[in-house]
Amino acid sequence: MCQRNEHSGQALSDEIVREVVFRVQRYSPGQDRPVTREYRVPVTRGMTVLDGLHYIRDNLDATLSYRFSCRMGVCGSCGMYINSFPRLACQTQILELNSDLVDVRPMPNYPVVKDLVPDLSQLFAKHREVQPFIIRNEQELEHPTAEFLQKPEELLRYLQFTYCIKCGLCLTACPTVATDPRYLGPQALAQSYRYCADTRDAGAEGRLRIAAGRDGVWRCHLAGACSEACPKGVDPALGIQLLKRLAVLRALSLKKPHSPAPVAGKRTGVERRPGIPQPPPPTVESR
């Protein structure tokens, strides 16, 4: 006998295998300090902390606020501090916590909007500050004619950092962010490295001026907590160290800026294999 969770769409077993207590930190704007509330939640196999919060909201307390969207560890919306560790609620199985108590708090190092909803504007502002996009001074970016050429091994240099979903859990785990709010933090710095290491990019100089400034990579104490917390297996601490190396080599003039990857030329002497259909015409008119 299976039922389908109305929020996650997952097939869930009916059998209640345990009952746990959710201790949830509650806060509403205007309150002096947050309070904790406890809810008894029946747990079935495969149930995540996010499912537990859905159960509370649907059956016990409709005023509970929390943020979620994709329910599958892709959007990064449901970052929370669960049993004293930064995790995505949708990826955390209640039974795997091996505890009768599930302590859920909003992510530390962020202002709280309400209950479990953090204000992530600082995260996005820092992300924007490091210029997380390809920079080239040419018309090709505005009016592309072909792709930029990049070898697979060049892609591998930064590939893991592209998996960042901007959930902000790394900033929650970072001890430097906890004490120095101006520190750019592991998310932004790892993204800075991601674009500096991209052979298609020509904007490393300007990006390094920000990322290797006083509030940049030099503030990292190598705690490695960011890498441990990342739900996507990205290693932001590694990105920061690689960025440090790049900044030092550039400062000592031991590494010159690379020439940005060229645009692929028009293919000649290549014909479509028989039987392979033509691509559909573009749905949007090119400018």
Partner: protein
């Protein structure tokens, strides 16, 4: 790239400290080993030995280098700790000014002491 240069110097100073502190510890505490190696070093902590080392140009130079490296390494680390407390731009300038002044004063003082011990 100023910060990158300062950080590189911090690492370089750490290496210098490691090398010269190893020599210092070896001379001070591995007397039996040095004797066995035939260096002729005895009673490293005795007054005569201290004066004898001070009269050698090699030691005077290493004292000054070690002093410079230790001061830079320590004060740069202290600067980092203080900057992480989140001071404003004016406070940052004041902190840096005080640390540079402190470092330069201690370096001059230590260098004068090392040179005075050498020439006497």
């Amino acid at each position: 790239m100023r910060e990158a240069t300062l950080w590189t110097l911090h690492l370089a100073a750490g290496v210098v400290i490691l090398v010269f502190l190893s020599i210092h510890m070896g001379i001070m505490h591995l007397e039996d080993v040095l004797t066995a190696l035939g260096t002729g070093y005895r009673d490293a902590l005795g007054w005569a030995s201290v004066v004898m080392r001070n009269k050698q140009l090699y030691f005077t130079i290493t004292y000054v280098i070690l002093l410079a490296a230790a001061l830079y390494h320590g004060l740069y680390g202290l600067r980092n700790i203080l900057l992480e407390l989140g001071p404003g731009p004016t406070a940052v300038r004041v902190i840096q000014g005080i640390l540079i002044l402190l470092g330069a004063s201690l370096f001059v003082l230590g260098t004068i002491a090392a040179i005075a011990a050498y020439v006497r």
